[in-house]
């Protein structure tokens, strides 16, 4: 597999605009990464991904109507190559189990920073290379 040309695009999905704002700042401050946009709901994220799939989606667990677990599954289904990371403002211990938190690791929102983003991408790329 060849290196994808251009920066790694990141979509953030959260119903809290302040966090989207912070996420954008982190993405733009990370070399090699580009902000693909913010979505305030699962429906909006799916529509945005359909127009042009980002490389990474940061998905908040707690959202009204479609929650993060459901959105993750739907993004996986429509874009198998996309890296979808669940994030939450709650402690991972206190997250609901029923949606499948055990299948998808959940990160604390406050751990979002350039180094974490790069690490996440590197691990994912490594895993997908191994899978090949």
């Amino acid at each position: 597999m060849t290196e994808k040309p251009g920066p790694v695009t990141v979509l953030a999905v959260d119903d809290h605009p302040r966090f989207l704002e912070a996420a954008r700042a982190v993405v733009e401050a990370t070399p090699g990464f580009a902000w693909a946009g913010g979505a305030s709901s699962g429906e909006e994220a799916l529509a945005s991904a359909a127009r042009g799939a980002p490389d990474v989606a940061l998905v908040d667990v707690n959202m009204p109507r479609m929650d993060g677990f459901e959105l993750t599954q739907r993004l996986h289904a429509s874009h198998p190559r996309m890296l979808v990371a669940l994030i939450s403002a709650q402690h991972p211990n206190e997250l609901r189990r029923a949606g499948g938190a055990d299948d998808h690791p959940v990160f604390a929102k406050e751990s979002l920073r350039p180094s974490w983003l790069r690490e996440l991408w590197r691990e994912h790329r490594g895993a997908s290379l191994e899978a090949k």
């Binding site: 809290h16 704002e21 912070a22 700042a25 982190v26 402690h91 206190e94 406050e110």
Partner: protein, 596 residues
């Protein structure tokens, strides 16, 4: 009747017996029948005694007075055992009056009143016969008819004390046969009246009427046979047996009255006893009617009731039958009688039962009072239950409202302060990285700020969790308790197999109870190494939190308020809670909450 009066009358009766005996002994008639003297003296005691027994009871006191008067009259009859012409003559006249009085007692049992027109006719006819064909013959009679059943003399009896001149011939030729025939006719009439009454009586009345009416028939039959024999055969035609039967028929009636009175007393006491015992268990008027019917052994009995008039009600009360159907007025089928009673509250009952009970108004009043109190109790029970239900529902609503307020606060914290702090934390990290090249000191300071913000984030999280754990709302009791257990200093095992989602007020009540128990373990259960939380559902939710710590003396629950709060929480959703502990054996908090 007061005890003093009862005693006085009793003493009077004994005195009369003694006088009667003394008279018979002092002046014995020649050719006396000694056994007859004894029987007639004992008969005074029997009539007066049974009369007093009835007199002393509310419902039969008038009858008791009649019987007592009959006994007094009988005392005068027994004076015929004297050889004195005056006493003998008075006694023979008293014998006529006695016949009417005894017939009156028999026909008026048990009320002391002649209830039917035919009974009144018989008594009036008897009184007229005595007044017209017996009393006027007193000055004309030389010798009273012999043999006589109530006198001990058989021949050579004393002459009539009141004779003026000599006995005219028309007396034995005309008057005496005529009045014997009329007496027999009147006795027959009395028997017919009694037979008709027995035939009409319900099975409960029959029970107490039969001994009386049996004795009455014996009495009248003996009198008829006696008069008939005397008329047919003159002096020699009446056997000693017929005389004895006629005499014994008098104490026999006293005995019949006694048996009847006692049987009624036994029946009414048993009926009222069954009624009062069962009263507390009746839930509605239908069950009350069934209790009345079985207590009184009157299957057809019907009970009507009307509730106390409401604030807007006016006019006639609305009657309901025992099935709850509204009727204009209590229906009265043929052969039944009605008795009504009203309580102070204004609620009323109407009892419809077999006609014969009409002779026992005091008994029906007791039954009605029982029925009223039963209905009043049912009404109060219903009112109490409905207010209890109201209180329980309102408590549940309060708890529910408090729970949703807590959930809302938790969400507000999560969506507001927590999100902003998280965004701030992320931006501070960016700021630190940006500063790193230019000012190592500045970057370090920002890193410190970042750590502080993280601490605040943790605090807000635990605050929100304490208010209402998000996991409880999203995943239910088992997961929320498991997460709480992970934060406990003592290892916690949670066993919640098969416990799905439950009503949110139940989940939160049990969650906070278990949380309180966990906190108690951490605070008080020294030496505890393990806590087990068990949840199970089986029509109700059962929960238990047990530790292996030092325990405490459950008798002196020193940590009262915590346990009281737990009890209140569980009680608000209709459940119960127990704390079991003893020094050295650990503590176990158990509870149950009904579901559905």
């Amino acid at each position: 009747m007061s005890n003093r009066k009862l005693t006085a009358l009793g003493v009077l009766g004994l005195a009369l017996c003694a006088i009667s005996l003394a008279v018979a002994r002092a002046d014995p008639v020649p050719t006396a029948r000694a056994d007859h003297t004894t029987i007639s003296v004992l008969t005074i005691a029997a009539l007066l005694g049974v009369g007093l027994y009835a007199w002393n009871r509310g419902g039969e006191s008038r009858f008791g007075q009649v019987l007592f008067a009959t006994g007094i009259c009988w005392f005068f009859v027994t004076l015929s055992n004297s050889d004195s012409s005056l006493l003998y003559s008075v006694a023979r006249i008293a014998g006529w009056v006695f016949e009417v009085l005894l017939a009156y007692a028999l026909l008026s049992y048990p009320s002391g009143r002649l209830e039917s027109r035919s009974a009144r006719r018989v008594i009036v006819a008897g009184a007229l016969l005595i007044a017209l064909l017996y009393v006027p013959t007193i000055p004309l009679t030389g010798q009273y008819p012999l043999p006589a059943p109530f006198t001990s003399c058989t021949a050579h009896c004393p002459q009539n004390f009141f004779l003026v001149g000599s006995e005219p011939a028309f007396l034995p030729d005309l008057v005496k046969p005529l009045r014997d025939v009329l007496a027999i006719a009147i006795y027959l009439g009395a028997v017919l009246v009694l037979a008709g009454r027995l035939r009409r009586a319900g099975h409960n009345q029959r029970r107490t009427l039969t001994p009386v009416l049996g004795a009455a028939v014996l009495r009248f039959a003996a009198a008829i046979v006696y008069v008939a024999l005397r008329r047919a055969g003159a002096n020699g035609g009446v056997s000693e047996v017929a005389v004895l039967v006629a005499l014994l028929s008098v104490p026999a009636t006293a005995l019949g009255f006694l048996v009847g009175l006692v049987q009624w007393r036994v029946y009414s006491a048993a009926a009222l006893g069954r009624l009062t015992t069962g009263l507390g268990e009746t839930a509605d008027p239908r069950e009350l009617r069934e209790l009345l019917a079985s207590s009184l052994d009157e299957p057809a009995l019907e009970l009507f009731h009307s509730d106390p008039p409401g604030p807007r009600a006016g006019g006639n009360p609305r009657w309901l039958d025992s099935a709850g159907a509204a009727v204009a007025a209590p229906s009265l089928p043929p052969g039944t009688c009605l008795r009504e009673a009203a309580a102070e509250s204004g609620s009323r009952v109407a009892l419809v039962c077999e006609e014969g009970f009409g002779e026992r108004p005091e008994f029906l009043d007791s039954v009605c009072a029982c029925a009223l109190s039963g209905l009043e109790r049912q009404r109060l029970d219903a009112a109490l239950n409905s207010s209890l239900a109201d209180v329980a529902a309102s408590r549940k609503r309060l708890v529910g409202a408090a729970d949703s307020a807590r959930q809302k606060i938790e969400r507000d914290l999560h969506d507001g302060a927590q999100q902003q702090l998280v965004a701030l934390r992320v931006k501070l990290e960016l700021a630190r990285e940006a500063l790193e090249q230019e000012s190592a000191g500045g970057a370090e300071m920002v890193a410190g700020l970042g750590s502080e913000v993280e601490e605040i984030i943790d605090e807000v999280r635990s605050l929100a969790r304490g208010i209402y754990p998000a996991l409880l709302a999203s995943d239910g009791l088992g997961e929320a308790l498991r997460a709480a257990g992970q934060r406990s200093p003592v290892p916690v095992g949670v066993e919640a197999d098969g416990v799905g989602r439950l009503p949110s007020e139940t989940e939160s009540a049990v969650y906070f109870c278990c949380l309180e128990a966990l906190q108690n373990v951490a605070k008080h259960a020294a030496g505890a190494t393990r806590v087990e939380i068990e949840l199970s559902t089986d029509g109700e939710l059962r929960f238990a939190v047990g530790d292996d710590g030092c325990g405490f003396d459950a008798g002196q629950a020193g940590r009262g308020s915590g346990i009281t709060g737990m009890r209140d929480r569980v009680a608000a959703v209709g459940g119960e809670l127990w704390v079991e502990s003893a020094a050295g054996t650990g503590t176990r908090v158990r509870g149950r909450v009904p579901l559905g």
